[in-house]
Amino acid sequence: MSEIEIRELTKKFNVKEHTVTALDHINLSIEKGDIFGIIGMSGAGKSTLVRSINFLETPSEGQVLIDGVDLAGLSEKELRKKRSEIGMIFQGFNLLEQKNVLDNICFPLEIAGVKKKAARERARELLKTVNLEEKEKAYPSQLSGGQKQRVAIARALASDPKILLCDEATSALDPQTTESILQLLKDINEKLNITIVIITHQMSVVTRICKKVAIIENGILVEEGVVDEVFESPKSDAAKELILEKKTQYLPIDNLKEDRNIRIVFQDNSSYEPLVANLILNFNKPVNILKADAKNVGGKARGEMILGLPAGEELQDEMIDWIRQRGLIVTEVKEDV
């Protein structure tokens, strides 16, 4: 039994006369200890999906099961208990502005009826975990975005959750801060064996820490799988768009063109071969590097590169073949990169 099991989940909102289908028959299984990414464009239904996992949003149809327990079958009180076992962090941090850092972290414990002294002890421990010991007396307004998110993470961990839901938790942060927060989430996942669900619109977040990913578009789950595989050979248009992180149209490779741009994805075995240099030496023709990017995907080095090939259809085909022979995945990119 998966830790989180989503079955045929549909959520409709009635806005004035018409109905918005935010989620359309979503099926998803998230295993214990996973870091699971859910990615999609704005308005795709990501927040609605993650809010359904702790029933902040009640589904119109379908089920959500946590450890095999159907949330729809719980009483109000049981549901609150269940929610307290699921931590959640947000894009806007959502800290209590009138409480200091320590009291913010104590808050879920206060709600659960834990004694003040015990709660403070636990909160101090957590402040250590998130590396903010010196800030316990500070108020949220005195913290940077990254620090606020650390407090929010500590707060989410206070009640020893088994699951941590993150709704765009890094979207308001700069790249370095994002990196440090993601690293923190990864550590938490490894040390505490907490299942983490990450909602994002940035592929870089997914490739950085997620093992598995689901892609949703207009409320429909269009692709799901291991991050490596989805990243190497995205099947849905939505996945392709998100991977290049901009509007791009992929064409079948046999579509003939004068000047062709291709996308190459490096795998473990090929990362260290000086591919472009060898390509140029071999064909004795210049190749344009339009984009080169190395990413850390699930702990392994992953690279992608977009090359502009020189004119001449035959030459281009030969080059593509040559690259493919080296075990690389090549797709054609149509667009000015």
């Binding site: 702790n54 902040l56 609150r80 208990k81 269940k82 929610r83 307290s84 699921i86 959640m88 947000f90 806007g92 959502n94 800290l95 209590l96 502005e97 009138q98 409480k99 200091n100 808050f107 879920p108 206060e110 709600i111 659960a112 108020y139 949220p140 307004s141 005195q142 929010a152 009640s159 839901l165």
Partner: protein, 220 residues
Amino acid sequence: MFDEKVIQMILEGIRDTLYMTLVSTFFGYVIGLPFGIILNVTKKDGLKPNKIIYSIGDFICNIIRSVPFLILLILLIPFTRLVVGKSYGSTATIVPLVICAAPYIARVVEASLNEVDAGVIEAARAMGASNLQIIFKVMLVEAKVSLLNGVTITTGILLGYSAMSGTVGGGGLGDIAVRYGYYRWQTDIMIVTVVLLIVIFQIIQHLGSFIAARTDHRKR
């Protein structure tokens, strides 16, 4: 300038004015705060929307607030007599002041609670907080500054109303101003009471703002 008797009377006037203002603010909140919380919680998009309860509360609020204070004062005379045993003097004035203030306070509280960030409420809900916990541990705490500002404004308004009740024998500085300034043309006494009212108002306003600013942790 004034003889001892007048000074004594003015001092008593200050005491009565403060007494009416503060006590009616207090009882106004005893009724108005829960009333305001109920309005906020039961409104559409509230914590627990309930159209019937909201409509009734909303209606009562609007009715009382649309009656001018002086008329309310007179309308309530039988009720005041029932509660405090007489219909004149400062204690008697507190009754209509409270009735007048409560719906006003309810609206102020309702608006203050509206300012609480929906995200924070959502976070509390995600932690498993019950609605009562959200009201008392999140909304009232986060809206603290706005609520305190509401108290200051209300106190200022009740100060003015308590003076107004002087026209019908309510006691306090307003009473003195009317009795001496209006009926006996002792302008000097009237001016002194008006100046005193202004000073008291200023003190309330500044003290209120000071306390609100001191307890606000959102900036600095």
